[in-house]
Every structure is written in structure tokens, then in C-alpha cells.
Amino acid sequence: MVIVAVPSGGNGGLTSILNPRFGRCESFTFVTVEDGEIKQVKTLPNAASDAMGGAGIQAAQTLGNNNATVAIVGNLGPNAAQALGSLNIKLYQAPNQQITVKDVVQEYIDGNLQELSGANVGSHFGMGGGFGRGRGGAGGGGGGRGRGRNL
């Protein structure tokens, strides 16, 4: 049995759309998968969606506290990547297109998603420029810019 966490829009759920901004998505949908089938679905609002800083870390914490062992993500910053890594949560890259939680979990079950080894965007990527001086990728983060996605 695995619990797959998917950052989702709105209140979450199987029919909601995957939100590529990991730390700042509106909700998380936790999907329990067993024997290649979706067994159970749970949703939680993302408490970190408008946190001042460390949103990725706080979001990772939510995943950890809900026993997720797999996360399917769009964009992942260095802090979030490191936090998920230290919780031994396996990361998979979502396809770069609008997709429902249900479909992306199915892609995962079918083995069509690539495993991700670390961050794929710099820090504060999803912040809409809130922080005064852009300062490249936060040092020491996990893996820098693994695989640049063309957005």
C-alpha cells in the first residue's frame, strides 16, 4: 500500500486539477493505492498556501504527518525537495499539462511518471516575485535545477 500525495486545486479530490506549485497549492489530495487500484481518497487544505516563508517545508510536513510515501509534483523548490527527501517521500514528476488528480495517479500506477531526484526550480519560484532581491537558488538546497521544465 502506498499513499500518494498530489498538490491540488480548490478543495482537492480525484476530479480536481493538479496544482504545479507544491508549497502554495490550495489543497493536498492523498490517494491510497493498493494492488494497482485507488482504494481511498482524503483531502486537506494546504496550511502553507500563503505562508510568509518556508511554505515548501510546511507543506512537506503535512505530507509527512499524513503518512504519504509518494508525492507527484509539478514545480518543486530546493527547500521542499530537501524536506521531502529527509522524510523519505519518493518524488515523481507530473506531466507538464493540465491533468486531474485521478489521471495523474493512474499515470503513476501505470509506471509512466519519472522519478525526481531533487528540486526542479529555484527557490521562491512560485512566489510571484514577492521577495525583494532575487537571489538565485537557495544554497545548500537539494540538487539545484534537476530538470528544467519549459513553462
Binding site: A48, A51, M52, G53, G54, A55, I57, Q58, A60, Q61, G64, N65, P78, N79, Q82, A83, S86, L87, S123, G132, R133, R135, A138, G139, G140, G141
Partner: protein
């Protein structure tokens, strides 16, 4: 009665406007005039005043920054620290030890103070250094942020703590203190502006120069500090007149302007301040003369301020 040192902060909304050139040469002219001068380089991500003066970095002292570290033998995994950390720098999952994320930690020490088990050790990391040097008969303090660190304000604070201590212990050691800030209008610049008696924003006659000048002036006015601007590279493409007009319309007073000048470039390359009395630059050069005018205007301004404050008293 001897007076307390006057603090003049040189700033600029944008990088490369010539802040450091102005700060070094103002300090040098005060020194020429027999004043006891301290120059502080607060552009901690890019300190280069000493290069302009052929100085060395001496008397290195580390700047420490709090870093939480968890003593696992004491920690009860209660998660209180994580719940209360405003920057979410402590990752805590039920049943596990919290994990600090130092890149987000603000160093506030709250976790250390509230941990019921005293399981957070008061630990420190070095995030930069301060230096104290003597060069050309003036004292030079420099702050330097360690590459890969992000908390420049903490290094600026270290410089200002030293300054505060100096002003308490020996308020009359210097007549003039010149502060050079980083470009921009962020929090470490604000700290240096707050300490100033007079502020001199340096700009250049371009659209970007104007926008950045207006931005920094907004901050200066918020802090309620007196300021007068200097326009560097004023002969640039003949924009000066129009630029001056616009500033006048906005009621921005000018201390003077510095034209493009080969000797300024040369002084940069040689690491000899243009205005040093021992330098052999042309005393009739346009750059040289412009600095003399600026210095006269600055002294006049200081005198006006003094009379005003005496009348006010």
C-alpha cells in the same frame, strides 16, 4: 564643546551609480580638511571601498548567526518548536525529531527559548566578517557577507553594533563618519539610513537612475531624514539639464554633479582616491572641480543644519 560625530550615509537606488566613488572621496576630502574620519563600507555583498584606496582587509572578526541544533537525547519530539517557528524553518513530523532548515531560519532563537526540554542547543555559524583597517590617515570598517549566505542585514547589524559601541565609549573619536550602503532599498540599507544624520543618494541621469532615486527617496522620507542628491556621470549623453529640471519639479535638492572624467576612471583603476591630497591628479580637471563644489555644498549644508538645530534648542 566638542561635538558628536556627524554621520553621512551615501546610498544609491541602483548598483553602479558611483556610491563608493562618492563615499571614498567625501571621506578623503574631510580628511584633507583635517577632520578625523571613519569610513564604513556597508555594501556587505560587494565591499570594495578598500580597493579604491589600495587598502588591505585586516583585523578580521567573524559575524555569528544563531543556528538551532537539536539535542536528540533530550528532545521529546513534541513539535512545539516547529509549531511556533514563524518562518517554518523546523520540519517536524509526528514521532520524529525536528529538522532545522538553516536557509529559511531567521535566527530569532524563539525555538531555543520555548523548548520545554531544553533540547535546542544555542549554536552559531559564521555568516560573514568585519574588518578594521587604517588607510590614508583614516579608519576604514568593512563588512563582508560570506558567499552562499543570504542574511546580509546581520552583517550590517554587526557593523552598526560596533558603531554604537564606539559612539557610546568614545563619542568624540571621529568628527565625520561616512557610511557606504548597498544598492537598493532593502532592509540592510534601511538600517544604515536610519543611523544617518544626512543622506546623500547618488544617481545618474537616466530613466532607470531616476526611478531608483525616487524609490530610495521614498524610503528616506519615510525615515524622516534630510537628504541631497548627487548626479554622477552628469555629462552622459546631454541628459543632465532635463534631469535637473525634473528633480527640481519634484523638489529634490542637489548637492552637485560629477561629469564623466578620465581621471576618475584612472583613480578607480589605480586605487588612489581622486581627491587625496597626495595623489597627482589634475587639480583643474572637471571631475576634481566637481568634487570640490560638492564638498563646499556639503559643508554649507552641515553648517545650516547646525544653526537650525541650535536655534531649535
Amino acid at each position: 564643546m566638542p561635538e558628536k560625530a556627524k554621520i553621512i550615509t551615501v546610498t544609491g537606488g541602483k548598483g553602479g551609480t558611483g556610491k563608493t566613488l562618492v563615499a571614498v572621496n567625501l571621506a578623503t576630502m574631510f580628511k584633507n580638511a583635517g577632520k578625523r574620519v571613519l569610513l564604513i563600507d556597508g555594501d556587505v555583498e560587494n565591499p570594495n571601498t578598500y580597493l579604491l584606496m589600495n587598502g588591505e582587509l585586516e583585523n578580521k572578526a567573524p559575524v555569528y548567526f544563531f543556528k538551532p541544533s537539536i539535542i536528540e537525547t533530550k528532545c521529546s519530539k513534541c513539535g512545539l518548536c516547529s509549531k511556533n517557528c514563524a518562518t517554518h524553518a523546523l520540519l517536524h513530523v509526528d514521532g520524529q525529531y525536528p529538522i532545522p532548515f538553516l536557509t529559511v531560519c531567521s535566527g530569532c532563537k524563539l525555538c531555543y527559548k520555548i523548548c520545554p526540554e531544553e533540547a535546542i542547543k544555542e549554536d552559531y555559524k559564521t555568516i560573514g566578517w568585519t574588518y578594521e583597517t587604517k588607510k590614508n590617515n583614516m579608519d576604514l570598517w568593512i563588512g563582508e557577507l560570506k558567499p552562499s549566505e543570504a542574511r546580509s542585514a546581520a552583517v550590517v547589524e554587526a557593523l552598526l553594533d560596533n558603531l554604537k559601541e564606539l559612539l557610546e565609549k568614545e563619542p568624540q573619536k571621529y568628527d565625520i563618519i561616512v557610511l557606504d550602503t548597498a544598492p537598493g532599498a532593502h532592509c540592510d540599507v534601511e538600517l544604515l539610513l536610519e543611523s544617518a544624520d544626512l543622506i546623500v543618494p547618488v544617481t545618474e541621469p537616466t530613466k532607470f537612475g531616476k526611478l531608483d532615486l525616487l524609490r530610495i527617496i521614498e524610503l528616506i522620507e519615510l525615515l524622516g531624514k534630510p537628504y541631497k542628491a548627487i548626479i554622477n556621470r552628469s555629462s552622459l549623453l546631454g541628459f543632465k539639464e532635463k534631469f535637473l529640471e525634473e528633480l527640481e519639479r519634484k523638489d529634490i535638492e542637489i548637492l552637485g554633479d560629477i561629469p564623466l572624467d578620465d581621471e576618475i576612471v584612472q583613480s578607480y583603476c589605480q586605487g588612489d582616491p581622486l581627491m587625496d591630497e597626495n595623489s597627482n591628479f589634475n587639480k583643474e580637471g572637471e571631475g576634481y572641480k566637481s568634487f570640490i563644489t560638492i564638498f563646499e555644498n556639503l559643508n554649507k549644508w552641515i553648517r545650516e543644519k547646525k544653526t537650525a538645530s541650535m536655534e531649535g534648542a
